[in-house]
Amino acid sequence: MRRHLLWIVIFFLSSCQTLPIINAPSSPRKEKSFVCPDPFLKRNYRLVHAIEARLDGRVQSQIIGITLALPDTRSVSCAIITVEGMSLFEAEANPHGINVKRALPPFDSKDFANNMMEDIKLIFLAPEGVLQNRGYLADGSKACRYRQENGGWIDVIENESGETQIKRYSSSEVLKRDVRFSGTHKQLYQRIGLQADAKFDYFLLMNLIEDQPIKKQAIKRN
C-alpha cells in the first residue's frame, strides 16, 4: 500500500514538471555502446492480468484483463471481464482503427475504448515516431525520447537498479501516463503500475495471472 501511495505521490510531483532534460552520453565510447531501454514485446503474446483500479489511493474494483498483443502488425485485442466471468468490454485495434465488439457501462464511452487501447499499446508495443533524444536523466537513469506523430512524447527510462518506466507526455509536455514495471527482466510484465492523468486521475495495478507466446497460425484461427 505504502509503495502504491509513493508511486502516486511521485506521479503528482513529476506531473508538475515539464519534459526532463536528457543529457547525451558523455563520451563517444559511451555513445557507441548506448542501447535504449526496450521493455516491449518482441513476439506475439497473450497476457492475462488481475487489474486493480484505484482512485485517491483506494481500491475501487478488481477486474481481469486479457491482452493479445501482436508487435509485427501493431495490433492489440483486449477483453475486460469480472471475477465472476461477465464480459464487460472487448475490442481490437490495429493501425486502421478500433473495433469495439462489446462495451457495457461504465466501459461504453468512445473515450474509454480509445484510451484503453492506447494504454495497452504504450505498455506492450515499442513506441512509434522518431527517436529524438537518448542519454541520461539528472538522476543517472538511461532514457530515450520518441516524438509522436500527434506531437506528444514518450520517454522510455531505465534507472540504475534496472527498473523500467514509460512516460507519455502530451504535445504541451504535460505528463499523461506513467507506467512502471516492477517485475524482473525475465518476468517484466509480472506487476505493472499505470498512473493516468485524465478527467479522473486513476491508478491501475496489473498483476500477471498467466502469459503465453502465440504462433501466427493460432492468431489466424482466432
Partner: protein, 201 residues
C-alpha cells in the same frame, strides 16, 4: 383455423406441463436447507486459447443466505444475508469492501442464485424459463428484454438427477463467450456456521 386451434391446444399443454415441472422442482427443493460445494469456473472467449479457470467455494442456507467465494486466480467474496449483499476484494493481503455500484448488481445476481437453490427458476420476469428433461433436468433461462439480450444470450442450469441440486450453470454471453460453472463435493443439509454468511474472514 383447425391448425390454429390445434396449435393453441398443444401450446397450452406445453405451458401447463412446464408450470407443473417448475412446481415439482419447487416442491423438491424444499428438502434443501443448506448446501455447500466447491466450484470450478471456466471462461471461454475467442481471445483466449484455453479457458480461464477460476476456483472457489459456495455456501447456501435457506431462505437466502449465500457465500460465493473465489480463491483463485483472484480472491473475492460475495456475501448475501438478510437481503443485504456485500462484496470484498483481496488487495495487498487485506480484504477491502467493494463500495461501488457493482454491489447493487451483485445483490440482484445473488438473490437470483438463492432463488435457483429454492427451486424458483421461473420467478424472474426478465427471463423466460423453460424446463427440459425429467431425470437430467435442464432449465433454460432466456432474456425477455432487448437490453438484457445484448448482455446474455441464455443461461442453462443443470440439476443433479436425484438430489435436484444445481450441478452446473452455463452462461452464454455470445457464441464464443461462455462461462461454465461446475459444482463438486456437494454437501446437502450439513450444518454451516452462520458467520460464514456475515464475515469475510
Amino acid at each position: 383455423m383447425i391448425l390454429l386451434t390445434g396449435f393453441c391446444f398443444l401450446y397450452g399443454n406445453v405451458c401447463h406441463a412446464e408450470e407443473k415441472g417448475f412446481e415439482k422442482l419447487r416442491k423438491e427443493s424444499v428438502k434443501i436447507k443448506t448446501l455447500q460445494a466447491d466450484f470450478t469456473q471456466k471462461k471461454s472467449m475467442k481471445i483466449l486459447s484455453r479457458p480461464l479457470v477460476s476456483q472457489g467455494y459456495f455456501y447456501f442456507a435457506m431462505p437466502d443466505s449465500l457465500r460465493w467465494e473465489y480463491i483463485k486466480p483472484l480472491k473475492s467474496v460475495a456475501l448475501s444475508h438478510n437481503q443485504q449483499a456485500r462484496r470484498y476484494m483481496h488487495s495487498d493481503g487485506k480484504w477491502v469492501e467493494d463500495k461501488t455500484n457493482g454491489v447493487q448488481a451483485m445483490r440482484i445476481v445473488l438473490s437470483e442464485i438463492a432463488g435457483w437453490m429454492n427451486g424458483r427458476f421461473d420467478q424472474n420476469p426478465s427471463f423466460k424459463a423453460t424446463v427440459i428433461g425429467k431425470e437430467n433436468t435442464c432449465i433454460i433461462l432466456t432474456p425477455v428484454e432487448k437490453k438484457m439480450k445484448g448482455m446474455i444470450e441464455r443461461i442453462e442450469i443443470n440439476l443433479a438427477p436425484q438430489a435436484r441440486v444445481v450441478q452446473s450453470v452455463k452462461i452464454l454471453e455470445g457464441p464464443d463467450n461462455i462461462t461454465q460453472i461446475n459444482f463438486s463435493n456437494v454437501k446437502m443439509n450439513h450444518a454451516i456456521d452462520p458467520t460464514i454468511f456475515k464475515d469475510v474472514r
